[in-house]
């Protein structure tokens, strides 16, 4: 049976959509995780570059026993969200702490 071109196109689209892995809906627990991330989203988040830019100041405030989170709240916020930046902050802290203690 002949399908009209438009129908054929739609049919093709549906079949292709089914085959493509990325077209599948997310798993329920991924949806919940995503909603959690959306719930915590704020408009003024900074990116990794801006965080890195201020990280040295942030870590010095922290080491001086000052409230770094209050002084640089967006850095604190980014560190809470971004594992890469948090790992770098912790490593930097360890490096500087060792230096301060003269070990």
């Amino acid at each position: 049976m002949n399908k009209t071109p438009i129908l054929r196109r739609i049919w093709y689209k549906i079949r292709r959509g089914k085959r493509n892995g990325h077209m599948r809906p997310l798993q329920p627990e991924q949806v919940v995780q995503m909603v959690r991330m959306v719930a915590a989203t704020r408009p003024d988040e900074i990116g990794c570059d801006e965080c890195f830019e201020q990280l040295d100041r942030f870590v010095e405030l922290h080491l001086a026993g000052k409230n770094a989170a209050e002084a640089l709240p967006l850095v604190q916020d980014h560190l809470a969200r971004c594992g890469d930046c948090r790992e770098e902050f912790e490593a930097l802290l360890a490096a500087l702490q060792a230096e301060l203690e003269g070990v």
Binding site: H22, V35, A39, F52, D56, E87
Partner: protein, 206 residues
């Protein structure tokens, strides 16, 4: 060792006789990295390599030091990033985004997870309904690229840096892409009269 001030460091490192300052800086970076990476099983040869690479980067980027912290703090920050970037690259070298997704597809996850702890059938039905609704919003609002990025970041614990590299972008741009995706979903949910907090209350109530 008497500590140089920021301007003394910069002056010494930029002078034609910078050898001594460079050697001092190298020692400091090496020592810093030793503590920064303690417990990760890094070899001495690797530490030396990281310190050397970091030293070159610090010297190349002297002009970008803005003097908002101690010079040595800034230099250690650069060194830590050099070393961790390389370590992440090595650790994830063999893993593709596809591997990350497939691993997840093979798990014997059943959708019952969300409904089995529901207090009553009505609650379970509500959850299923909302789940489908959010899935539809995600499909409508996000580009394939945004969905791929969100899934990759959520599932395998792959660092942003590594996901970014596999998507042909960089870490900062990927963070911005994800932020934009989260913002779009947030706005759409509000337009639909759903707050993320209400949804979580529905999904997480026991």
């Amino acid at each position: 060792m008497s500590e140089r001030t920021n301007s003394e460091w910069l002056e010494a490192l930029r002078s034609p006789q910078a050898d001594m300052a460079i050697a001092d800086l190298r020692v400091r970076l090496l020592r810093g990295l030793r503590y920064a990476l303690a417990g990760r099983g890094i070899t001495e040869a690797d530490l030396e390599d990281f310190a050397q690479e970091a030293l070159l980067k610090v010297l190349a980027e002297l002009d970008s030091f803005r003097g908002e912290a101690r010079f040595i703090t800034w230099a250690q920050k650069v060194a830590v990033r050099v070393a961790l970037t390389e370590l992440r690259r090595r650790h994830w070298r063999e893993v593709s985004l596809q591997d990350l997704m497939t691993e997840r597809d093979d798990s014997d996850f059943t959708p019952a997870v969300l409904t089995e702890n529901a207090a009553d059938p009505g609650q379970a039905a509500m959850r299923t309904l909302m789940l489908e609704k959010v899935q539809r919003l995600i499909a409508d609002e996000l580009t394939d690229k945004q969905r791929l990025a969100m899934m990759a970041v959520m599932q395998g614990g792959m660092p942003l840096q590594e996901v970014a590299e596999r998507m042909g972008t960089n870490r900062n741009a990927l963070y911005k892409l994800l932020h934009d995706a989260r913002r779009r979903l947030q706005k759409r949910m509000l337009r639909e009269g759903l707050t993320p907090d209400d949804l979580l209350a529905i999904f997480e109530a026991t």
